[in-house]
């Protein structure tokens, strides 16, 4: 009696295995590697939001800025008003989402490249505002001394493992919500807009309203991540939310593969793991990193996840070549 699985069942089994491994792994690793896993999960959550916006055909160069807005909102709430982690988390998400709603209502009407550049401008304006407004945001030093979160009497302290489970929870929640949205009727509208803007408009899709929804949801979850980061690092400062950080989110998603829901997660884990792994060879690590980045986009323009498909095509080419050589020889 053979075992037969459908494709869907196989995917569920694979997801289950991955979940078990990811949940069990921190128990066997050193604090350093758990920290790396926290960084991977943070990057994945941000990159997933970035890809969510890509499904509507727009890209942003200021995604880290919205994490920053959420982080500042959460940090100011816990240090100045009330010390409650869940409230701060919610506050970070809500503030980032509302800011995105307000800004997006104005800037989502312009063409794609210009939208991307405006988001970059917004992120720089946010950074300079934070630096200028010293009385509220602490200027260039940022908000310091954020207490470790304590949930139901359990204080997180300095151990990395609880933080990992926390960010894993945030990641899973945001991925599930965004994935379900992408697979619903709303998501169909998103994909229609990406493929053909005017046609989608003719079909009666209010492209502006759908893009606004998508942008604010993506930024809402970015704010979540920012609020987590504020509690994880115990400070927020303008130096951690620069344009370069937004570029990194962009690169994680792109290298993983923008057309696959799993792309941003794979890309972030791979690139963060690579940069941490290469830190051992500190001297020439960035050279490798930049080189690998260029090679990946050069040979696999669709991202790492197209590797099986691409290698199959290449293998077929090699095989036909040899077949032709053999035919000529005989």
């Amino acid at each position: 009696m053979g075992l037969h699985f459908t494709r869907k069942q196989l995917i569920f089994v694979a997801l289950g295995v991955v979940a078990v491994v990811v949940i069990a792994l921190p128990q066997f690793l050193s604090q350093y590697w758990v920290m790396v896993m926290v960084m991977m999960a943070t990057a994945s959550a941000l990159a997933y939001g970035f890809r969510f916006l890509i499904t509507t055909g727009r890209f942003t160069m200021g995604h880290a800025c919205f994490a920053g807005i959420g982080g500042y909102a959460a940090a100011l709430l816990t240090t100045k008003v009330v010390e409650n982690f869940w409230l701060a988390l919610l506050m970070g998400g809500l503030v980032a989402g509302l800011v995105a709603l307000g800004i997006g209502a104005v800037i989502l009407r312009v063409p794609g490249l210009m939208f991307a550049i405006i988001t970059m401008a917004v992120s720089e304006i946010f950074r300079y505002l934070v630096i200028m407004w010293r009385s509220l945001s602490g200027g260039i030093t940022g908000v310091l001394n954020i207490k470790s979160p304590s949930i139901a009497g359990f204080n997180f302290g300095i151990d990395q493992i609880p933080y990992f489970y926390l960010i894993l929870g945030i990641l899973v929640v945001s991925v599930v919500v965004m994935y379900r949205m992408e697979r619903s009727r709303i998501g169909l509208a998103f994909h229609a807009m990406r493929q053909n803007d005017p046609l989608a408009q003719h079909l009666g899709i209010n492209i502006f309203r759908y893009r606004l929804l998508c942008f604010s949801v993506a930024c809402f979850f970015a704010g979540f991540v920012g609020a987590f980061q504020a509690h994880y690092w115990h400070y927020v400062s303008p130096a951690t939310y620069t344009v370069m950080d937004s570029f990194m989110v962009f690169i994680y998603a792109y290298v993983g593969g923008l057309m696959f829901p799993a792309g941003p997660i794979v890309g972030s884990c791979l690139l963060v793991g690579l940069s941490e792994g290469l830190r051992m060879a500190k001297e020439i690590a960035p050279l490798f990193y930049g080189g690998i980045l260029i090679l990946v986009i050069f040979w696999l323009p669709g991202g790492i996840l197209t590797l099986p498909q691409e290698s199959r095509t290449q293998w077929r080419k090699v095989r036909t070549f040899f077949a032709r050589v053999r035919a000529r020889a005989s």
Binding site: I107, M114, A121, Y128, T242, F250, I284, L287, I294, I297
Partner: protein, 290 residues
């Protein structure tokens, strides 16, 4: 307030504006002809400064010769960049930007490997200052202004009059029609990359004596270049130069009378206001597919 201070700020603004236009020209040419948004252009400028420093200080040849050598070397580097990552990504904006970020990392780590991370000091070439009707500026700033404005004028004439300049403009406005007229698109995009990178290298070379040579310069300059290209409008060289001047003046006046951060906020606010009213910039026209 002192009237001379206003003129001082005006001249400083023109100086900054001519440096910004040295950067933005490369961005406009490359976006128009080669159809990629070269995010690594700030790093190209820093490369120019590095090569100038290397030839002038380490090898010890004449400063102006070093600037010219930097211009040629970095321009050649631009041609290499056009071939290796950028040609594949023509018209594919997102992939082009990721490739450019990869190049940024390569340049950053390469220069760090070769020359270390500390700021290189070129030292003053022509010390002292000149008084011009009560407005005092150091000699080198006059030189930068002169070189920048001369380069801009030269480029404008070249683009208007010469055969290759016309070919580049034709290719930028309609690549297919230009190709049908016998314009080799590869040659023009190579030339565009060369001119863009060479001008950025000159900018880096001449600003090295006052700003020093530091990788941290790359990001602010590329941001200003992006501001200028978006305000002026991609596809309009003159518009972008004018926008660069306006940005330089804004920055200079805000730095003199308010503070630098407010200047940046004003510049970015100007960008948003312009895009909302005219999405393709003040003088640009729509570029399909971007």
């Amino acid at each position: 307030m002192d009237v001379a201070l206003y003129f001082q700020a005006l001249l400083n603004g023109v100086l900054l504006g001519s440096l910004i236009s040295l950067v933005v020209v490369g961005l406009v040419l490359v976006l128009g002809v080669a159809r990629v948004f070269n995010m690594a252009h700030g790093h190209v400028l820093v490369m120019g400064a590095f090569v100038t420093w290397a030839f002038y200080i380490s090898i010890g040849i004449n400063y102006w010769l070093a600037v010219i050598i930097a211009m040629v070397i970095v321009g050649m580097g631009g041609i290499v960049l056009e071939r290796f990552p950028f040609r594949r990504f023509q018209g594919n904006l997102i992939a082009g930007i990721v490739a450019a970020v990869g190049i940024m990392m390569l340049i950053e780590s390469g220069t760090t490997q070769a020359w270390g991370t500390e700021t290189k000091i070129v030292g003053s070439i022509w010390a002292g200052s000149t008084d011009f009707f009560g407005v005092v500026m150091s000699n080198w700033r006059w030189v930068i202004m002169g070189v920048g404005l001369t380069m801009m004028a030269g480029l404008a004439v070249y683009m208007q009059r010469s055969k290759m300049g016309k070919a580049m403009r034709a290719s930028a406005s309609d690549p297919e029609a230009a190709a049908l007229q016998g314009i080799n698109s590869v040659t023009v995009s190579r030339l565009a990359m060369f001119i863009g990178c060479a001008l950025a290298a000159i900018g880096g070379g001449i600003m090295a004596p006052i700003y020093g040579v530091d990788l941290a310069m790359a990001m602010p300059w590329i941001l200003k270049g992006i501001l200028a290209i978006v305000i002026g409008g991609p596809g309009s060289l003159g518009g972008c130069m004018a926008a660069a001047m306006v940005l330089g003046l804004t920055e200079s006046y805000f730095t003199t009378f308010v503070n630098p951060q407010a200047g940046y906020i004003a510049m970015f606010g100007m960008l948003i206001a312009v895009i909302l009213v005219k999405p393709w910039g003040l003088f640009g026209r729509p570029m399909p597919g971007l």
